[in-house]
Assembly symmetry: C2
DNA sequence: ACTGGCTTTCACGTCCACGTGAAGGTTTAC
DNA sequence: GTAAACCTTCACGTGGACGTGAAAGCCAGT
């Protein structure tokens, strides 16, 4: 099959497949006219890549799985290198989730505090001095001493 | 104070401060020779930005906080716009954590299954022909799987 | 006078997984 | 026979937050 057909079957784009070929991740044979040619094995490889991508794996991280399949193994994760990637990704995920949960707690606390302060300020307290609180000062009608606004040097 | 001094006090770089100025986030006055000049108020603004950055806020998301401080409010989150940013970030974080936890469960299940299959294969089965597969272990990157919250670099 | 350390403005590079044309050749369908 | 639909190879663009020089100006100390 040709590139467009494979892209359709895998639910991706031709550009993506050419990109994978550039990376050496999914090389293609060529037919006489220079068109890329793929078979069902390539479709399996591609599906493996897409599945891992959906899990947030980088393309380089999918390489052990693809190599494993191409080496004739029944599944992409039948090789130790693939399992290592799984394990590293798990650790990475745990770190990331941990980190995000701490952040979430921080931001949640900040929001709660700020909402309390806002509730305490608005009813009784004076509205904070926003830029344009003061209406307009009565214009001095006599002699405007000097032009413009003195700049901060 | 000049740019290098402010950078040191805030624990960042001069390039970063120039970048913030390009974005209009932290404009600087200029002294006679064209050097950027900052004061302690700018240091506070900068600290606000860096704090939010550590929480994974994008620079544009820090703008309401900075504007709020510059308007004379006691804190960057004393304004409703800042609270909105907090709330949107919380929702974003919740979605993100949720997503990662589902991924984690998936990958964990895959690893468990693959390990079981490996244990079942290796003792009895023939050692699969995994001759010269993975040439290089993928470089340890620490990018969170998807958009939104960067990790501490 | 010279060294060293600060500053200035360009302006391109980084990372990642592609998107988006441009300009052209090939095949298929009517 | 010709138009539509495919395919090819460049090669630049995207987004975010800066990094990394280059070439030059300004200032203090010795």
């Amino acid at each position: 099959m040709r590139i467009g057909e494979l892209a359709r079957q895998a639910g991706t784009t031709t550009r993506t497949l050419r990109h994978y070929e550039e990376l050496g991740l999914l090389p293609a044979r060529r037919s006489g006219n220079g068109y890329r040619t793929y078979d069902d094995g390539d479709l399996r490889l591609l599906q493996q890549i897409r599945t891992l991508q959906d899990f947030g794996f980088g393309l380089e991280e999918t390489r052990p799985f693809v190599d494993c399949l191409r080496a004739g193994h029944p599944a992409g994760d039948s090789c130790p290198a693939s399992l290592d990637v799984y394990r590293r990704k798990l650790a990475e995920l745990d770190d990331c989730i941990d980190h995000l949960q701490r952040i979430r707690a921080e931001v949640g606390a900040q929001l709660a505090r700020a909402e309390l302060e806002a509730a305490a300020d608005v009813p009784g307290g004076p509205p904070p001095l926003c830029a344009f609180t003061c209406p307009e000062p009565p214009a001095p009608r006599e002699a405007p001493p000097f032009e413009g606004i003195p700049e901060t040097p």
